[in-house]
Amino acid sequence: MSRTRFIPLEPVKHKSIKLKNDPTFSHSKLFNFVNIGFNEIAALSGCMPLVLVHDEAADVLSLTCCLGFEGFGNVFYHERQWLGHAVPLSVQCYPFNYSIDEQRVSVLIDENSTRFTSFDDVGAALFSSDGHPTTLLKQQQENLATLLEGQQQAKAFVDILKQYDLLAPLSVSITRASGQIVHSSNLYSVNEEKYAQLEADTIVKLHKEGISMAINAMLLSLRQYNRLVQLTESFEDPAIRVGIKLNKSM
């Protein structure tokens, strides 16, 4: 698989490229975690675990969904179809992405993606013959706008969790059929008890902003780890058990 290289989409340069459909989202085959938007929490929480991942190098905490485990890659990937009822927006958006540059949002494409072709009979055009974006590209632009908005809201959400000191380290370990145990590190979820102890006014405020709903959904989504374990069934040396511990003492 060639390396991802996002470059700005240009109407003239990319006038005649076509996009091939890929219902399996094969580019995500090796993904374990994917950043998600605040506006995706409701849709994804019934399908996959939603957790916060701490990137130590950059010291950034991101809202993500977990698609699989180390050694397995993305367990929702299958060569014929995606094995869940929900797909994270950033996975759907590929091979498109956005960049923000002095408040201006531009559309990027992965120029190495095999989803782009210049053959007429496969794939759908990004630009009509007059150089205007087609409905397909406009749909992608709308998705990117939703993604951008959701990711900005996700940042604000994480800040609120930090502000009220609601983070709780999460330890997840899976046991494989061979007995090997794999730990995931640098994961966080929400400390429910601390949340319950917030002042009534604060709770009302967070409730109004949809924060409480999001917290609940995140906590409930941890049950989906069992689904991930089931989805490893077709793998060699599948996972057979998962242990989840939320450390609330901090």
Partner: protein
């Protein structure tokens, strides 16, 4: 009634043949099929203009059995969402306005225009404030997502099409799929008796007879005028234009964006139409020879064209048509019905000619007398209905002129009281004091609705005139919140459509995949 002959194979002849054949396609109890024959001359060509339609054309074609895809592929058709009037009136808000085909937001429940009239501060242009379609037109966006018809959002639209290709498409469909007979020949003389027409002599096919004759012979009015001597009701004292120059402009770039409205730009003694097809634009200058001599008219027209092309323009290559504005005193006389240019002519300001052809042919197909003995009462009904439609169309076309503030002689004369039909001037007086109401147009022959009148009237009024037009009616405005909500919904819809709709050419592309 078993046999119908249609004289003339222009747009009128073939649309009429198609509608008649598609409506009466089964045998009667005696096993007889309705036989329809079109006679068209090889030496007299169809007029070759008439390229803008109403949304009614969609229904007409679907009745006849011609798909939109065929129209786009074989008649160079594009999508028409509005008429845009440029320089008809200079106001603080600009020099142009739209008459879109889609209704104002919320129309199914309430007409929000009186509320718009009383918005003093935030008021923009009427059509854009109440309807999303002007914005689609401005941005060159299509009225629907793709060639597939099963779509959630479709704005109202008609077509622009290539007149010559359209006739060929209609002809081959009528002959191949609807069993219409075609005779290529000249009608050289017509025989008449007390029942009406009793035979047509042709150059190569001898004498031909039928139970009913439809005159679609164009301006020559072979049967209705030359043979039956039915005169025109002259309307040239109301609508002054009597000539048209026309010319086709190719696109410089074959993939140029395509305008999805008919543009009508006011000129010294008339106006220029500009219609965008897939591979070219069709333009023409409609003017009054009483107000501008031919040479000056050619110059005016050439000046317009020069703004739109860098190619040199040769004014002697313009084609010219002379016409008389008016309509037959009777459209149906004995066993002869006139449809198309033979029945009268109105300048193509709102594409009313093709619409009147569709209406006449549909009415004929519906009311087709089973037997000669009931012909007279059908004749009376048909004539009454058509007369009403033509009068209604004339009033509506005149409306465009009377509201202008252009000061050249042509435009001033257009505002003179003698030139304005009484019914229209009475309504205009009332509309200075109150909004346009649905109930102002309650006859079935009212071809243009209150909605269309509002788009023209409020497209041209100034702010102060809007305010007085509503002061009396204010007492009846009980639904301010609803109206405001419609206007903000309109804004939201515009944003959404801008983010989603393909360009007009993008939509055309989708038919060729």
């Amino acid at each position: 009634m078993n046999q119908i002959i249609i004289v003339g194979g222009g747009t009128a002849g073939w649309l009429t043949a198609g509608l008649l054949a598609a409506t009466h396609c089964k045998p009667d109890d005696a096993g007889n099929l309705l036989s329809i024959t079109v006679i068209e001359s090889e030496s007299v060509h169809p007029i070759g203009v008439g390229e803008g339609t109403w949304p009614t054309m969609r229904q007409t074609l679907s009745k006849i059995g011609i798909s939109e895809a065929d129209l786009v592929k074989h008649a160079s058709a594009t999508f028409k969402q509005a008429s845009k009037f440029v320089n008809w009136h200079h106001s603080g808000l600009g020099n142009s306005y739209y008459h879109p085909f889609s209704a104002p937001q919320g129309s199914a429940n309430l007409d929000i225009s009186p509320y718009w009239l009383s918005m003093h501060t935030e008021q923009g242009q009427y059509a854009s404030d109440v309807c999303f379609q002007p914005s689609l037109c401005d941005e060159g966006l299509a009225p629907k997502m793709s060639s597939q018809s099963n779509q959630s959002f479709v704005a109202n639209y008609g077509y622009h099409l290539d007149a010559g290709q359209f006739i060929e498409l209609l002809r081959s469909h009528c002959v191949q799929n609807l069993g219409v007979n075609r005779i290529v020949d000249d009608v050289t003389s017509v025989k008449q008796n007390e029942m009406g027409i009793c035979g047509l002599s042709t150059r190569g096919h001898g004498e031909i007879q039928a139970d009913l004759y439809v005159d679609c012979s164009g301006f020559s009015g072979l049967l209705i005028d030359k043979e039956l001597n039915i005169e025109l009701t002259d309307a040239s004292h109301i609508l002054f234009a009597d000539r048209a120059l026309f010319f086709q402009l190719p696109y410089k770039d074959p993939n140029a964006p395509i305008a999805c409205y008919t543009q009508s730009t006011a000129q010294k003694a008339g106006w220029v139409w500009d219609i965008a097809l897939q591979h070219r634009r069709g333009t023409g200058y409609v003017y009054s020879s009483r107000h501008q001599d031919d040479e000056a008219a050619r110059e005016t027209y050439a000046n317009y064209l020069k703004l739109h092309t860098s190619d040199s323009i040769d004014a002697s290559s313009f084609r010219e048509i002379r016409f008389k504005t008016g309509y037959r005193k009777k459209f149906w006389e004995k066993n002869c019905v006139a449809i198309g240019l033979s029945s009268g002519f109105l300048e193509p300001l709102e594409a009313s000619s093709l619409m009147l052809i569709e209406q006449s042919a549909t009415l004929l197909a519906e009311q087709l007398p089973a037997d000669k003995c009931v012909m007279a009462s059908v004749e009376r009904r048909f004539n009454e209905r058509l007369k009403g439609m033509w009068e209604s169309a004339i009033n509506f076309l005149k409306l465009h002129y009377v509201l202008s503030n252009n000061d050249s002689a042509f435009w001033k004369d257009n505002r003179s009281n003698e030139s304005i039909p009484f019914e229209l001037s009475a309504l205009l007086e009332e509309w200075r004091l109150r909004p346009v109401l649905e109930s102002d147009f309650s006859r079935t022959s009212d071809t243009f609705s209150a909605q269309s009148y509002r788009y023209i009237l409020y497209g041209m009024l100034d702010k102060a005139e809007c305010a007085t037009a509503n002061s009396f009616y204010k007492r009846a405005l009980k639904h301010v919140d609803f109206a405001n909500k419609q206007m903000s919904l309109n804004k939201a819809l515009i944003k959404q459509l801008q983010a989603r709709m393909p360009s007009h050419r993008g939509l055309i592309d989708s038919f060729f995949k």
